[in-house]
Amino acid sequence: MANLSSDFIGIKSPNPFWLASAPPTDKAYNVERAYEAGWGGVVWKTLGSEGPPVVNVSGPRYGAIWGADRRLLGLNNIELITDRPLQVNLDEIKMVKRKWRDRALVISLMVPCDEESWKDILHRIEDTEADGVELNFGCPHGMAERGMGSAVGQVPEYIEMVTRWVKKHSRMPCIVKLTPNISDIRKPAEAAHRGGADAVSLINTINSITSVDLDLFAPQPTIDGKGTHGGYCGPAVKPIALNMVAEIARNPLTRGLPISGIGGVTTWRDAAEFLALGAGNVQVCTAAMTYGFKVVQEMISGLSEYLDDKGIALSDLVGRATPNVTDWQFLNLNYVTKAQINQDDCIKCGRCYAACEDTSHQAIAMSPDRTFTVKDEECVACNLCVNVCPVDNCITMVEMPKGATDPRTGRQVGDYANWTTHPNNPSVAAE
């Protein structure tokens, strides 16, 4: 079993799997049971300022979309930050941290955008002995209407300012949690970096309406006939989160800034992908909310087996794929592959044919006995057939060796060459 112990900005945990700030981390009861199940750390459910706690709706707060067999793929919520009194949370945090020294415990914070409020809350949490703070600049609903959460996270200048206050008034490691509801994720990350953040974490949830009740004519979840946009998370958001993590990891202005990867982590493989793109650890919410705390055990065994198979340490995995994330213009235009159907695995459903014939390049032939074969002279290697085939690995993309003739173009497969030097590129022709 590979050693999974993790050191994220000086915060140690037995594995890189933390629970994200959300209902699973809302109270001592949950957090202790999560630790028992094997979670390496938690970010406590976001705390607000002293005073009467926020109030949640008492109707449904979640909406969802499902895949086949009602597998939950995306979850949407309109929950606010913790609705329990501040002192109750602080007492529980202190008690839990004392009991679970080897686990990470980070406190998520969201208070109004003025220095006094931040100074005050930082002062109050000092005594808990928590390992760090996470600044919630992410929640896109409810709190944003009150000038907090993503309302701050969408303005890089505010992020920088608040981060500075936090670094000024606290010695704790500081993670800035980013909202994905922004056009260029690099900007808030750069701002956090400038403000002195020790790390960024992302993504928080994405603005969304999951569905509409067609009898009530209202968005779901519907509260007394009305609905509002919520925050989207779960497996469906993973691709968006991965891209944002990679963007920050390869941005020269933020290179080396530690990242806690969040968004749709459901299996060990999802986690490994975040790590490979540059995340130092991962945080999970929806997978725990869907399957219970025990789901971490598969993440632990799977990641450990993967590292053993590869013969690498956890730290070797972090960022290993980052250098391979590039711009389109640098992709090798002389790299040629062809789809190939393994006839032993093919169940003759014809989905690849429908996809290619109707919507793509007419590159799959169908015989009267339902044998499906790729026409190399038509195949542009788009990968659509691979993606629609119900059998894993039945269709694969096979690389053509250098010097071979591509039957589609009649050209030989040549050396690496990209768009920047391509004759069709107007800016090349202009030179």
């Binding site: 598969e298 799977g302 695995d345 039945c394």
Partner: protein, 428 residues
């Protein structure tokens, strides 16, 4: 081919060798990777999963299925084997229809359970094929434990004890290890010498010395073992067979089903002789296995006769259907009166609801249950007590639990844990 299903008397090679081979091929074939993926996808990862509760070895079924679903079948195998070192054999022979799969929520919801047994086999076969033994021994404890009987109970205990760092010696009276894994289970459930292969793999843990051809009570005594070892585990199974107590039992052609099966398991199937008209008396797994395998060898008529009603039969409904679909006829509610014949059996007379009838028979298998043969320690009912001082018992020979491979594995493991705790002074 000289013989056919119609050849009178007891004869071998009623079918051509290729047909016999095909008949005894893997009864439930292994999943390929695609099938396993699709089957694993159906699992809901239930909380406090009913399937796991129903498994006598408490395998973490939702976890191992999720591990298959996420492309880590070796991790799945480790999850299985940590609870059940014979997870490979159990995957083949467990009556899942009355255990984990019976209570799977998808059986309840749709009448189609997650195929837990086949998924378990997919995972364990994969790891075994790589020759990986996933466990290592703890530091030596200096304690020595004797295990008597190398069936699933004994081997499971031996493995767990060796893993804990004890030195284990296994005494087995037969030439081969495995108990009923080797001499009992239906041939088509455990093909390609799986029983022996699994045991070779199990013994890779090390620290287990095997002594075959040694019978407790003949070559060694319990008192002797107690003197020489720190603890003794008895996994001696049920060596005795219940008698019918019907006239004619001594006629030639009348035999114990377990002996027929043991012979069949060790022989080249093409040389196994079977009757043209076979009658099997009994209603358990042994009866079903004797009947089905007779049919597969080419017997023309095979009839299983059970004393009680269908629902009381200890072979599950699934197994009864398996028998009838193999061509076995089952008669319920009929009791044997006597065997008819001169020197060799020619028929059996039964009584059913006050009426009597006779079935033609040139071979009769008795399968009305096995029993303890000799009790080295005190009994609890018809079986051995689970513990007497420094002697523990588990598996078929011991009280409690059903007589199943998986139960034997569980009891062997649990006894080993208890022995360990006692030897290390944690409990008395």
């Amino acid at each position: 081919m000289t013989n056919s299903p119609l050849t009178p008397g007891i004869a071998a090679a009623r079918l051509d060798p290729a047909t016999i081979q095909a008949n005894f091929a893997d009864h439930i074939p292994a999943f390929d990777a695609h099938e396993a993926r699709v089957a694993a996808d159906r699992c809901y990862f239930c909380h406090d999963a009913p399937c796991m509760t129903a498994c006598p070895t408490s395998i973490d079924i939702p976890l191992f299925i999720r591990q298959i679903a996420t492309g880590t079948p070796d991790a799945a195998a480790r999850t299985i084997l940590a609870q059940n070192i014979m997870g490979g054999m159990c995957a083949r022979v467990c009556p899942t229809e009355t255990l984990c799969e019976e209570v799977c929520v998808r059986e309840v919801a749709e009448g189609k359970p997650v195929e837990i047994g086949r998924l378990q086999r997919f995972a364990t076969d994969g790891l075994m094929a790589k020759g990986v033994h996933p466990f290592t021994r703890a530091a030596p404890t200096g304690k020595r434990v004797a295990v008597v009987g190398a069936g699933p109970a004994g081997l499971s205990a031996a493995h767990r004890l060796a893993m804990k760092g004890h030195e284990v010696t296994v005494f087995e009276r037969k030439a081969k290890l495995g108990g009923l894994n080797e001499y009992g289970l239906a041939a088509y459930k455990t093909t390609e010498d799986f029983a022996a292969r699994e045991i070779d793999w199990l013994l890779q843990i090390g620290g287990i010395t095997v002594k075959t051809g040694v019978t407790l009570g003949v070559d060694v005594t319990l008192a002797g073992l107690e003197a020489d070892y720190d603890a003794v585990f008895l996994g001696i199974g049920l060596a005795g067979v219940n008698a019918l107590n019907a006239p004619g039992e001594a006629l030639s052609g009348v035999m114990n089903a377990v002996d027929f099966i043991a012979g069949l398991r060790q022989a080249d199937l093409a040389t196994v002789a079977v009757g043209r008209d076979v009658v099997v008396i009994g209603g358990g797994m042994t009866a079903v296995d004797a009947a089905v395998q007779s049919k597969l060898l080419g017997a023309e008529n095979v009839t299983m006769v059970y004393r009680g009603p269908k629902e009381r039969m200890s072979a599950s409904l699934y197994e009864q259907e398996h028998a009838t679909s193999a061509g076995v006829k089952i008669i319920y509610g009929a009791a044997p009166v006597r065997m008819i014949g001169q020197g060799k059996v020619e028929g059996v007379e039964f009584t059913k609801g006050g009426e009597s009838f006779t079935l033609k028979a040139d071979q009769v298998f008795k399968a009305i249950g096995q029993a303890l043969e000799g009790a080295p320690i005190a009994q609890e009912g018809k079986k051995l007590a689970k513990r007497a001082g420094k002697v523990w018992a588990g598996g078929d020979c011991a009280s409690g639990g059903e007589d199943l491979t998986v139960t034997a594995v569980a009891e062997g493991r649990d006894a080993a844990e208890e022995i360990h705790a006692v030897l290390m002074g944690a409990v008395r």
